[in-house]
């Protein structure tokens, strides 16, 4: 880790700080990939607002414009369906965007359709002030990327091996609910050398407007996030963490500190927030972190790490 970053994180070495796969975070809350993830200025603001870590939007080798709107809309149940289409500025522009990063714990999310696309992206980011990489193998709504790669164990293995041979930074694999069981893909990722798993991504979903009788999303099908998917997230984290013993970052409908604690009990060393930001704003990071702190104090614990995976014995 960059010396300067390391110093900053040491300052937070208290009740709330967590470590996983060589990463040290001042608290367990991270920004989930896909949300607000393109601007260094916004990253700085998120860090000031209390985020323990920040995962960028998934970056591809070339810029992607994504689908036409509507790309995201809200459901009644504090959930979203989105098909943004992996819109991102591309590795070159994004590496320039974060080149000036000083103290924000950024994890760059990468996406690609074959193992050959990753080395040149890693080359652009490896010298920058970042903590590591999250590899998106689970976006459910773009052909030949994300889940279509994540559902192919051989490709998952090839990508991870290629990345590992090109960087010493930790790599986290983001998995989701595809046609191959999420635990099986996590196993493949672990065997190929992944340092941690993020579970879960959005789940393929759809909504139709009954007045116009038309699908709402321009892409028709998108990914469901928010409260609706939380129990699936908790189950995935529990099974992956308990069966594989690899560090896991929980993601999926975390809206409150209670949700965060539940994910940690299931085995998550850190949690990612996304949809909650649309409903409660950026203050969600502070609210949830404060809630976790109070919970740990009430339970008489010395470190957030003590609750990670506590539910595994049952």
């Amino acid at each position: 880790m960059h010396r300067r970053l390391k110093r900053i994180h040491e300052q937070y070495n208290d009740l709330l700080s967590v470590s996983l796969a060589g990463l040290q975070l001042r608290n367990p809350t991270m920004l989930a990939s896909g949300f607000l993830g393109i601007s260094q200025d916004v990253f700085n603001r998120l860090y000031r607002m209390g985020a323990g870590g920040i995962v960028s939007k998934s970056i591809s080798i070339e810029p992607i414009e994504g689908y036409r709107n509507p790309t995201v809309f809200s459901l009644e149940e504090s959930s979203y369906i989105n098909a943004v289409g992996l819109a991102n500025p591309g590795a070159e522009a994004f590496s320039r965007e974060i080149a000036s990063n000083r103290n924000v714990p950024i994890i760059v999310s990468l996406v690609g359709s074959s193992d050959n696309e990753f080395p040149s992206m890693i080359k652009k980011f490896d010298g920058l002030n970042i903590l590591g990489y999250e590899i998106n193998l689970s976006c459910p709504h773009v052909a030949k990327m994300g889940m279509e790669v994540g559902d192919d164990p051989e490709m998952v293995c090839a990508i991870i091996k290629k990345i590992k041979s090109n960087t010493h930074k930790p790599i986290i694999i983001k998995v989701g609910i595809g046609s191959v069981d999420v635990v099986k893909i996590a196993q493949v990722a672990k065997d190929a050398g992944a340092d941690a798993i993020t579970a879960i991504n959005t789940i393929r979903a759809m909504a139709i407007d009954i007045e116009t009788m038309m699908p709402i999303l321009n892409n028709r099908i998108g990914g469901l996030s928010g409260k609706s998917i939380k129990p699936v997230g908790v189950r995935s984290v529990y099974e992956i963490s308990k069966n594989l013993g690899i560090p896991v970052i929980g993601c999926g409908g975390i809206f409150t500190w209670e949700d965060a604690v539940e994910f940690m009990l299931a085995g998550a060393s850190a949690v990612q927030l996304g949809s909650v930001i649309g409903y409660k704003g950026l203050s969600a990071f502070t609210t949830i972190t404060k809630g976790i702190k109070k919970y740990l104090e009430r339970k008489g614990l010395k470190s957030a790490m003590e609750i990670v995976g506590l539910a595994h014995k049952y």
């Binding site: 009644e76 819109a87 321009n218």
Partner: protein, 275 residues
Amino acid sequence: MPTNIDRIRSIVIEQIIEETPTVKTFVFKDEISSKAKPGQFLMVWIPRVEELPMSVMVSDKKGYAAITIRKHGFGSTALFNKRLGDLLGVRGPYGNQFKIDKESKKALLVGGGTGLVPLMRLTITLNQLNIDTTVIIGAKSKEEMFFEKQANDFLDKTKHNVIISTEDGTYGVRGYATDVMSIIVNKDKFDTVYTCGPELMMKKVVDIGLANSLSIQASLERYMKCGVGICASCCIGDQLVCKDGTVFNEKQLSTMIDFGRMYRDKSGRKVNFHM
């Protein structure tokens, strides 16, 4: 009817007003939109085509609102071509609103194109508060000028002055709205300038306003995907236009390095405004 403003609500185009050959106003019934604050916007769904952020125009009918469309790109042209009785979807209104200082005595509004929409909603409030109001409407030509009558009608109960400027001089004063602004800020003592329109025009308005120590409220426009503060497509610096804006004050505007210079395209890359 759902009360959650985030859910898409079906609306029917009940009236179409042709403002100019390239600008139309669609009137529709929607209680929630009718109560939008000046500066707020709707995400307007054109089924199977696009979804666009649009300021909420005033309708004189209770429980009704409107949108004013300029035929421009793919989505706005599809919207412009919609007919009476066609269905659209709306969600919102989103964003903050113009703040009116209760001490304000004399307001200046500078607008161009469909940027006049939030200013029209604002004139209704200024009229109610009996604040002396000058409106400068900028247009390319007489043919492309609109909302002069509305501005005068909405300000009927307060002292007001509506000035038109056209770039080709076919109507009103020849020149840009900002040329008129430069002249009148030296003659009259305005306390606040409210602006909405093309960003390069607003940049000029802000520069003139700052040079004359005026309070400034500018409603900004950016490409948006979500409208609810999660995609960051609309960010300027660390500010999200959809959630922290659309209205920013002189303090915020003077620290926005990219204001009047750059915006982000659909991929999130920064692009220069054409000068």
